[in-house]
Amino acid sequence: MENGGLMHTLAFFLLSGITLAAAMGVVFKRNLVHSAFLLSVTFLGVAGLYMTLQAEFMAAVQALVYSGAVAVLVVIGVMLTHRQQMSRSNPPNKMLLVGALAALSVVGAIVWAILATPWKVGKGSVVTAGDIGRRFLTDFAPPFEAVALLLLAALIGAVVLFKGGKAQS
């Protein structure tokens, strides 16, 4: 998807529309399962946006990891923890007004920052998977190792929390 032209604009609006609609669905739907599915739709929308930004590797990883693994995990989580009526399984709490106020004020601040800041938009550059790979193992080697440890820790943690629960119940 080259940058200029009508096609790109059309794609952008379509994809962002899908993403935002799905996101609103995730947040406002009462039924947890619907929210879970809408969540994976959001992830795919975002992957599409990456395509419009010529970040093919990112789009692939997004689609694979998020909508693949994360969404599935969420659905499993929903199944594990809900036995009663699904339609009322995702109610809002009593803080709707306060929550809305807080969220709007933060978004307002961010929008003010985005619009008022003179972003120096350069000629832009496209990043290939090769560049990313090389950077991973040269400059960002310590974080890379750290993320590995982190995933291991999460793995052990999940196992401990589950196994512990079984032994106890």
């Binding site: 709490n93 803080m95 929550g99 807080a102 969220a103 004020s105 933060v106 601040a109």
Partner: protein, 631 residues
């Protein structure tokens, strides 16, 4: 040779009794016999040295203007040098002689009077301490040293008045004495501070030069106030008008104490202070008139009260206050000689009167009301005779001591202002009357069947005898040997007897005796009814013009009242603020704690609000700082 030795070792006089006090209190508390002998021995040697000093002063011609002075530094710092030392001049010599003699006699007397008292040794210790501090005050070279021993004397009077401390009245009397003298000390202290700051020295010699010079340049106003402040001390110590209330209550102490301290020595300390600093007072006419009039009024006032008192020691106490008024009057009118002369003679016969009263009380087991005595002349002839001599002396009947000294005062008063003279004479009349009343009621009339009196022992009568002799000769001998040109201030005046005033005063005294004989002559009981017709005056005088009650009211309501108010303020206001602040911070803590609702989403909302707030703060301040500069 002895004279030289004693002059140069005059500081031994106070030191010996002080050593006696130390030895007794540390070692001899449980061996009374030894303690008494040690005290008397020490006092005796001190008396001998005093005689030596008198002899030296007489032979060497040391005068008031050129005293014999020895000084050492007590403590010093830049701007304030305090020294201790010995200053001997005719006035001091006279005082040394009188004080050491009477102390010796009273100590001997006490061996008899105090037998059987559990604190016998302690009594002699305190008496020696008193004698030491009195003698040390007499030879003081500067105001500070005098003030130091002035307060020590006050302490001893507190201890000795409160001797029978198991009696609440004695305890309160001691406290009252100390407090009243303390108020006087406040005055002296202020006076001393003025002198120290104005003249940089407290030495009598230097002040005698500097004060008159100062008065020449910038007038009397400030110095009169200083003088009056200094005079506040004598008002308290010598029981002058407003602060005399403690002296009658001081009779709670044992009689030897009253004889020595509240008749002969301590109470005259005030007179001695004014005499010692006469160079300052004499150049301040304003102060002199105040002293004179206060003295006269006190004399009259005390005599009026003494008329109606029923207890023997109270009568003598008021008579002392009155005689002290006389001495102050003499000083006020400018005659140092008359005042000192009367001081000496008064010391002898007043001590004798008190010792006599002591032997009566000793015999009648402390029954003090004279109307319950009566007819003691038969059972106590010696005491009666000696008391008679003393009464004649105090009334001023020639040739007894009192006549000469009182005559000097009347002559001096007459020269200055007639109203003072009239007042003084009328007081002389009252003195004669109440002394005669005491003598007649106590010794004449029929025997009171209940008390079976008996004559006191030799230990008590011997000292009274010596005092009786002195009461006779202490007037005529010094008069003839020119006491005037020995103890004087300014030119020596050889006033012979001014026969006019002398005869007038003798007649007045005899009139007093006559009136007393008329009223109390034969039946003592009936006589009191006559006196009652005088009505309100009688009750006023009996209750000492209610001055005691006024002071009590003031102390209870004003002082303690204010104390309670301040205590309330301290508890509720000062502490209130402190505890309030503690409560408040605890309360704030609780409020903050309540914020912790436990709801995760409340926390998240608060965090986001904080982020937004911080953005605003930064945007505003950044805007204000226009994008530059550090806060």
């Amino acid at each position: 040779m002895w004279a030289d030795f004693s002059l140069h070792h005059a500081w031994l006089i106070p030191l010996l009794p002080a050593l006696a006090f130390a030895i007794i209190s540390f070692f001899l508390l449980r061996s009374p016999w030894l303690a008494a002998r040690l005290a008397i021995a020490a006092m005796g040697t001190a008396f001998l040295i005093a005689l030596g000093v008198v002899w030296a002063v007489g032979s060497k011609g040391i005068t008031v203007e050129a005293p014999f002075v020895m000084k050492t530094v007590w403590f010093s710092m830049p701007g304030l040098v305090a020294s201790m030392g010995v200053l001997v001049d005719p006035i001091a010599a006279m005082m040394l002689f009188v004080v050491s003699l009477i102390s010796l006699l009273v100590l001997i007397y006490s061996t008899g009077y105090m037998t059987g008292d559990p604190g016998y040794a302690r009594f002699f210790a305190f008496m020696s301490l008193f004698a030491a501090s009195m003698l040390a005050m007499v030879i003081a070279t500067n105001f500070l040293q005098m003030f130091v021993f002035w307060e020590l004397v006050g302490l001893c009077s507190y201890l000795l008045i409160g001797w029978y401390f198991f009696k609440i009245s004695a305890r309160e009397a001691a406290k009252k004495a100390f407090m009243t003298t303390r108020i006087g000390d406040f005055g002296i202290l202020l006076g001393i501070l003025f002198l120290q700051i104005a003249f940089g020295t407290l030495d009598f010699g230097e002040l005698a030069v500097k004060v008159p010079a100062y008065v020449q340049q910038n007038g009397v106003a400030l110095l009169t106030c200083v003088a009056l402040l200094l005079f506040a001390g004598p008002i308290a110590k010598s029981g002058q008008f407003p602060l005399h209330v403690w002296l009658p209550d001081a009779m709670e102490g044992p009689t030897p104490v009253s004889a020595l301290i509240h008749a002969a020595t301590m109470v005259v300390a005030g007179v001695y202070l004014v005499a010692r600093a006469f160079a300052i007072f004499s150049v301040l006419p304003g102060a002199m008139t105040v002293i004179a009039w206060l003295g006269c009024f006190t004399a009259l006032f005390a005599a009026a009260i003494a008329l109606t008192q029923r207890e023997i020691k109270r009568i003598l106490a008021f008579s002392t206050i009155s005689q002290l008024g006389y001495m102050m009057l003499a000083l006020g009118v400018g005659s140092l000689t008359a005042s000192m002369f009367h001081l000496m003679t008064h010391a002898f016969f007043k001590a004798l009167l008190f010792l006599g009263a002591g032997s009566i009380l000793h015999a009648l087991h402390d029954k003090a009301d004279i109307f319950e005595m009566g007819g003691l002349r038969k059972s106590m002839p010696a005491t009666c005779a000696m008391m008679g001599i003393a009464v004649l002396a105090i009334a001023g009947i020639p040739p007894f001591a009192g006549f000469f000294s009182k005559d000097e005062i009347l002559v001096a008063a007459a020269h200055v202002s007639t109203p003072l003279y009239i007042g003084a004479s009328f007081t002389a009349f009252l003195t004669a009357f109440y002394m005669a009343r005491l003598f007649l009621v106590a010794f004449f009339g029929e025997e009171n069947p209940h008390n079976h009196a008996h004559e006191s022992g030799l230990a008590m009568l011997a000292p009274m005898g010596v005092l009786a002799v002195f009461s006779i000769i202490a007037g005529i001998v010094p008069f003839t040997m020119g006491f005037g040109d020995w103890v004087r201030f300014g030119p020596a005046h050889h006033a012979g007897i001014d026969w006019g005033i002398a005869s007038a005063s003798t007649l007045i005294a005899l009139a007093g005796f006559g009136l007393a004989w008329a009223i109390y002559g034969n039946g003592a009981r009936r006589s009191d009814a006559i006196v009652k017709q005088v009505g309100v005056l009688y009750s006023l005088s009996l209750n000492k013009f209610y001055i005691d009650e006024i002071y009590q009211w003031f102390n209870r309501n004003i002082v303690t009242g204010l104390a309670r108010v301040l205590y309330w303020v301290d508890l509720n206001v000062v502490d209130g603020i402190v505890d309030g602040a503690a409560q408040k911070s605890g309360a704030v803590g609780n409020i903050l704690r309540r914020f912790q609702t436990g709801q995760t989403q409340h926390y998240a909302a608060l965090m986001l609000m904080a982020t937004v707030m911080m953005t605003l703060i930064l945007a505003i301040t950044a805007g204000a700082v226009a994008g530059g500069g550090k806060i």
